[in-house]
Amino acid sequence: MTDGAPRRSVSLAVLTPLMSVIEWPMRRLQRHLGIRRLAWVFLAPNLLLFGLFAFLPVLLNVAYALTGGGNVLLENRPPVGAGNFVQLMDCESYLDPNSCDEDKFWRSVHNTVWFVTLQVGCMIGFALLTALVLNGPIRARGFFRSVFFFPVLLSPVVVALIWKWILQRNGVLNGVLGGAGFETHVWLLDAGWAFFWSVFISVWAHMGFYTLILLAGLQAIPRDVYEAARLDAASPWRTFRRITLPMLMPTMLVVLVLALIKGVQTFDEVYAFTGGGPGSATLLVIQYVYEVGFGGSPRLFGLAAAASVLVAFVLVVLTALQLWATRKNAHG
């Protein structure tokens, strides 16, 4: 940690006096409460933050979902019972957004389902492929690993703008295609292509993260297993199917659920990329919540809260799945 050392000594020099000052009241508390109960003092700031910014909002969210009107202060909002939920769920057919009362919500739900399916599918697929390649006998593994990880560091707005620039009517993609004799498109004007590219940039930006996790999972598989397979003259494909995949399955599961959870919450890069357009072709559910609650006129906090309660429900299910998968991974 050679980079960290000089930084650490600087921060130590600055923080030591501060910490010493804190030590005094802490010692007295310790005498008062005893070591065991002092643990609560250590926990207090964290619990306060969680309480205020995680748990309380959940309760308030439900409160908002049950009220109407455009006022932001809860006390000024008239209660509407399940009105917001009824409005959201009012559909003749859930498969056709056009038949719904809140058609924008259901379009966003459809878009999100498609988006998550495609994005997670492609991303995990390519992440697995890349991890397998990186796990193989290649030189400069560290360099290549960093290459794939690089886009993960970029902010969503930057990712969106980089690709928006490439996909312009006069952008480099059309330049290359035109030069090679293919047809050029105005990519972001077409609903289908805009959706495709939204999935693409999302995969591009996040794939490296999952590649690393899968790579770690692959490297945890003991080498003698592969030795044994080689001695049996197994083909690469057979090795993969019979040995690699089953041993990697726990990690895959974790990665899959994690990707799903993050995928459902996608907002940043797509919002900066297409703004939900053209029309509502790339409108995802979090953007719907943002638009209804903070972008529209009038600001419908109740409806936005109700929609986010529904999304939260889906996420709770997925998170529970993730925890179950992690526990399995830890023991299996």
Partner: protein, 428 residues
Amino acid sequence: MNHKTIRGAAGASTLLLALGGASGAAHAQELRFTCSSDGNECEVMDDMLDRLEAENDGLTVAVDIVPYQAILETLPVQLAAGTGPDIAKVTDLGGLSQYYLDLAPYVDTDYWEASFGDFLSWYRADADDTGIYGMHSQLTITGAFANTTLFEQAEVAIPADDASWEEWAEAAREVAEKTGTPFPMAMDRSGHRIAGPAIGNGARLFDDEGNAILVDEGFTDFVEQFVGWHEDGTMAPEVWGTSGGTTYQDAAEEFINGEIVYYYSGSWQTRRMDDSIGDDFDWKVTGTPCGPAACSGMPGGAGVVGIKATEHPEAVAKVIDFFAEEDNYAELAARTLNIPAHAAVAENGVDFDTESANTKAALRAWSAQVGKLSPVAFAYQGYGRLNRAMFNITVERISQALTGELSVDEAMARATDDLAKADAEAGQ
């Protein structure tokens, strides 16, 4: 101590208190002024305020220049949260009326009524309100810019003043073809922009009882035409097509680069056109083409309002009154190249601060359009309760029709629903 000394001491201390009080009043009053420029309005106002600050010791006005989107989206949230500025230049005149400071106690109301007349009603909450809430600093009107050099090169005659949309569309297409210009026409992505042509086509927007209906035959008809132009390539598709939600998008840069023949926007762009085009090509303001019902654009503009929650109402009123003085208003209009809303200033004519013949002609053309405004347009602009919602609904639903997500009829039906929902919520 005897009585005299005590009285003297009391008198002295009273005097001291009074002086202290006075210097307390002359205490630094810093006002925050959130402002968005179409051209240079905020910069000019900031400059003019230096004079006011020089005359009033302790008064400073910090002009905070923000993008237009911030005024549309962020300012309302700030005002609702109570963290807004003292003064703001707003365009959603009626929609934010609940936050305005009534200036009537601090200004000469007769002068204001005589100078600004009907425009004052735009800032009022309802018909019974008689307060004075804002000074209309910038009267704008929607209409079109035409690249006359391209018409010349294509040898196509510029349509007459009372030409219809079809005639303009045809002429623009011909010019674009002959000169190799990418786009014949373009219109800003805004519900406010499309309102004028819709009204010209017979849209009434309100029913007989004065309730907002937005969609009727005239409106739907124009929307169909609009969608048709996107399909056949008459209208530049990226303007309405690549943004989502209710994001505002204009096509000024494309027009300035000579990529558009006929650009429907509004008078606030005049300064920008003047500065950016220079003498690259000749251009002309042509107003709104005629429909069966009218040849009307939409009036609009911005005004300077005081915020009710301010800690310095008198100072705020002083600042706004400063700009309402005839000479100052005339100066503001002349330097920002905006059409005046002040009756006396408009009558005397404004000596616009530009050497460009194009701009002078443009501003004259804009002023001539004011008379053609339909009363529906005036009412729509003043309908603060819901007009912002109606603009947003218009943009969203028409965008869906443009991409083929919904048919025009479906989109219009949805728009009617959306309006009903917004109406229900806004009423609470």
